[in-house]
Symmetry: C2
Subunit: 452 residues, 2 copies
């Protein structure tokens, strides 16, 4: 008998079918047994009654067992129709069960609230929860729609290397290791260098890169390894072209999540982001944001070169309530707070044509226009006290011409976190690496989660 | 004036337009100047004549300059129509040029044949060649169509971590580094562990992963870092289900390359792969392949546990000429040559339900069915002398149930190489890392390319 996918069972009413599935829930009730089955397409309830030989096997079947099940597809009696689940109006009257693989009994109630360490230490099991499945189905949609939108805008995808010979950002903490012949190598903290090289090749490029940060921070916002959704493109007027492109992108991603993940949003009890009309999200300069915070809350951080996490939360609340947007751009960070390759605004000296995009309380993107003139770039490398011999490969881009350009880097996990409204970015990371964790805790020390 | 994309110029006949472009070729001819311009959509020839003030600027413009150009779109005279290039029937009569960024003169003739070190040491420049653009446009299509096909088959994409706490393959050479608090960490040599975890979550999964190999091999086939197109799925009968899925995938990728990259194939002078009808590429057991080689060539390697590169080339030639296929599966490698998690064929003890896929002379995929029974798996870990405490996180997958499953890993760069028929896998890698190279050579030693 050929396997029927669970999503196709509504078309099989009255027929005997074969499904392959994993058992999510078992309810043994004397001479009856109920099962929730799942495959990669949907879920269905199965029931055994009046068949002693089947019931005998059914009694052995526990949660997370893999099974091949034969049964007849029946409409459920009206009084047990459940509109809230997939296939809630049908059930499978089981005629045979074959056990394909067993499972140990569950070590804890999968449906209960789990603390973060239990959730992460038991990832192979806890990822199977409907809540976790919903998060990572949404993450998959984000990645898919990211590529779709950018390809539609003429961008070409490329693969950025992770082993690098120097740290281009000249700031972020990096992991080091010995390469062949004792050569010092690093794990890339960003695909920045390579994006700029690729603008020279294809003008519009994106990459779904892994970035590594050896920051000694144990917070709900930090990861040692994350997925960076990067893009870069040429012939821009200024950073506003990039912000417009990213606004269109976020609109498209949100529409894709709506189309593909409405069930997952229900599981998470989440709404789609609030996105206003217009070609660009609300935006303001850093100093304007600081003045606004001072005026509305009395908190004076106008002398600071950056926003604190609580400022970002306040601005997002303001954007949501006053501007009808869950997204807000903050522009014109000071030259000193941005990497050497950031373009200084000729009309606002000391400040850059750069931006952060804030979404529901956190910064999810850093972007901006880049310097394209090699003399200015050499000057900026020198001013930072960086060793320009490390940059000779990179500087080829500028020696041999590159149009005015810019782009962004966006943390996939933070974006997922905020789409799903989970508290800790690690809940939106399949296998998070942090200062204390590579799959399991690396020591018996309890991780200290500072909620910054 | 608003920028017009070069691909849209045929609709602008007779109009004055503005384009933004990079200069690919300059031909100064006394009172005339000719340019080949490119943007991310197409190319066009521009010509200056009879405008002294424009010609003066045009004389400053060199190759790889970024420019904003105004001009009138004209049909070319019949005698200079060129069918072989895009927009070969029109040209831009230039009325104004603005230089947006300059370039140094080209250090060598970009259109000439370049040796591999020149090609790689000058990657930011050499990637702009039409030949290299063609290779990486095809690579981008492969990645895009890989995801499209698998999503269409119900697979969910996920992100596999690159920092790992142990080496799951227990064989491949791995890069090591110190993580936080002196903990030893490794760069993942494969996403295998995580794929299997994810089968428990979504049943059908794929990932576009980076894999790292610290193999001390300097050949035209080896890279220290490569992109692994991985997939894994549950409820299979045996390895033939995986081979059928991969056959469908390759057929889809080839069709996508045909649809999106016909110009690129022309640049590379390449044909699409020869793919026969049927749901599975030609396939034979390793021992059958060895017998065939012995029978047809006299070379006796029937006692060997694996194929040598020259055997792979011979089998591919045979498949092409005798079986009408550029792809051929070789199955049933001996247990000793495969990782511990490989499923042993109950009907052919000592040999595994595993396969390699050969394409135009090289192995591009290793795949197979995996052990899903935890007792067998523990036994196999013990037999290999591996430390099973390293596997506790992984073993959760099997403790808590997993359907019969399997999958493949496929090297993107090798696949690209063979689609494009370039000699060295590094030519199909944007920024190849090998024993001697991270962007540029890591020492003055010349890399020794053994053509194995």
């Amino acid at each position: 008998m050929k396997r029927i996918l669970i999503k196709d069972l509504p078309d099989e009413s009255g027929n005997e079918v074969l499904i392959n599935a994993v058992v999510s829930v078992v309810r043994q009730q004397g001479k009856m047994a109920f099962f929730d089955f799942r495959d990669y397409t949907s879920t269905i309830q199965g029931v055994v009654f009046g068949k002693p030989e089947v019931l005998e096997i059914a009694k052995e079947v526990g949660e997370e067992y893999s099974v091949a099940v034969k049964g007849i597809v029946n409409a459920r009696p009206d009084n047990v129709v459940n509109d809230k689940v997939e296939n809630g109006d049908i059930e499978l009257e089981i005629t045979a069960i074959e056990i394909l693989n067993k499972s140990e009994p569950m070590p804890f109630d999968l449906a209960s609230d789990l603390n973060i360490d239990t959730l992460l230490d038991n990832r192979p099991l806890t990822l199977r929860r409907a809540h976790e499945q919903a998060i990572f189905k949404i993450q998959s949609t984000i990645v898919k729609s990211y590529g779709e939108f950018l390809r539609g805008q003429g961008f070409t995808e490329f693969q950025a290397p992770k082993i690098v010979g120097g740290d281009a950002e000249g700031g972020a903490e990096v992991f080091k290791f010995k390469y062949f012949k004792g050569v010092q190598a690093f794990l890339a903290s960003s695909p920045q260098v390579y994006k700029q090289i690729m603008v020279g090749v294809f003008e519009r490029v994106f990459t779904i890169a892994t970035a590594f940060r050896a920051e000694k921070s144990a917070t709900s916002r930090h990861l040692s390894e994350y997925t960076s959704l990067d893009a870069e493109f040429g012939f821009i007027e200024d950073h506003h072209d990039i912000m417009r492109m990213e606004t269109g992108l976020m609109r498209y991603i949100s529409a894709s999540v709506e189309e593909n993940n409405s069930d997952d949003l229900s599981v998470l009890k989440m709404d789609l982001p609030k996105i206003p009309e217009g070609e660009m999200f609300p935006h303001m300069k850093l100093r304007e944001a600081q003045e606004l915070i001072k005026e509305k809350t009395g908190k004076d951080s106008t002398a600071e070169p950056d926003l604190e996490p609580e400022d970002e939360r306040w601005l997002c609340k303001y954007a949501n309530e006053e501007l009808g947007s869950d997204f807000i751009f903050i522009t014109h960070y000071p030259v000193s707070k941005r990497p050497f390759y950031t373009y200084e605004d000729e009309n606002d000296p000391g400040f850059t044509k750069s931006f952060d995009l804030l979404f529901r309380g956190v910064e999810i993107t850093t972007g901006g226009q880049r310097v394209h003139d090699i003399e200015i770039l050499r000057q900026k490398i020198k001013e930072r006290g960086l060793d320009d011999s490390l940059f000779e490969f990179y500087l080829q881009v500028f020696r041999f011409g590159i149009p005015p350009h810019g782009g962004w880097g966006m943390g996939l996990e933070r974006l997922t976190q905020k789409f799903c409204d989970v508290k800790n970015v690690k809940e939106a990371t399949l296998f998070p690496r942090d200062i204390n964790r590579i799959d399991t805790l690396t020591s018996k020390d309890k991780s200290e989660e500072a909620e910054l």
